[in-house]
């Protein structure tokens, strides 16, 4: 497997977790989510494909979506974590921390990967 493919798989696997983390503190609309992700990560390569993922998380019950026309000249669709989404985020955070700690230990044990 090439390094590019491996990176791509890591990115795909982390994106759903990253979106839930982005929405943990407050409701955000699509572009706001993209901007937040861009400021911390390079997970978003094509902006338009975030929206089907948000639609799927909404359908799964992890997010609640609501249109608002109050704050800008055009309506924005705001996403909020539901209680189900918050539980999912908690579980993902625990798994992520355990997983990354194990890999870090493995990297340390191998002499820093070098």
């Amino acid at each position: 497997m090439s390094l590019d493919v491996w990176n791509e798989q890591l990115r795909r696997g982390a994106l759903e977790f990253a979106i839930l983390l982005t929405l943990a503190p407050a409701a955000r609309y699509g572009l706001e989510i993209i901007r937040h992700l861009e400021s911390f990560t390079d997970l978003v390569i094509t902006e338009g494909t975030i929206y089907p993922l948000l639609a799927r998380l909404t359908r799964d019950g992890a997010l609640r979506a609501e249109w608002s026309a109050a704050e800008s000249p055009h309506p924005r669709k705001y996403y909020t974590l539901t209680s189900c989404g918050r539980r999912r985020l908690d579980e993902m955070t625990t798994h992520w921390q355990e997983f990354s700690a194990k890999i870090d230990r493995l990297v340390d044990a191998s002499g820093g990967g070098r």
Binding site: I45, E47, G48, T49, Y51, L53, R59, K77
Partner: protein, 204 residues
Amino acid sequence: MTLSDSGEARVRGYLYVLERSLRSSLPPAVVADAVREVESHIRERVAEMDPLPDERAALERVLAALGTPTRVARGYSLELSVEEALTTGRLTATLRAIWLMATKTAAGFLAALVLFTGYVTGGAFVLLAAMQPFMPDRIGLIVVDGVPHGFGMRDAAPGVEIVSGWWVLPLCLVLGLTALVLTQKGARTWLRWIRTRIRTKESP
């Protein structure tokens, strides 16, 4: 900033292609919501962009970052169609999802071909069972010159014998329903596998 007429036409064109691409596989309410959200994204980006020195280039950068309308539509339509088929279990939704997959990849086309063969075979046997009471002499095992040639409906002719009896109706019914149930189960298993693949391959 406010777009010029040509910029506005470019945005309308993008949204039109997106809507047309989504409409082939999704309910109108979902299409309208998705298009509205993408339009909101574009308007937001346009509002913050610098039109100078070239509005057209700036707008193209916004649309390029968003991705082509067909790519955005693909993200919605494939998964939603598969999801609808799996959630409702309806034959029409299942057939629509299979058809959509068949148009996307060669493997999808082959799988769809196998599944459609199953549905057609099952449907044909059920149809034969339904017609058997009305034309008992024409439906059964077709034997031509003493050699079995198949099972189905055929007109009597010199050298052609139709071996039929009371057993044809229940046999056709059992074979047809078994084929339909097995094909539907196979289709759902395949669509579940596709859903997992789509979710792990989402690539923003």
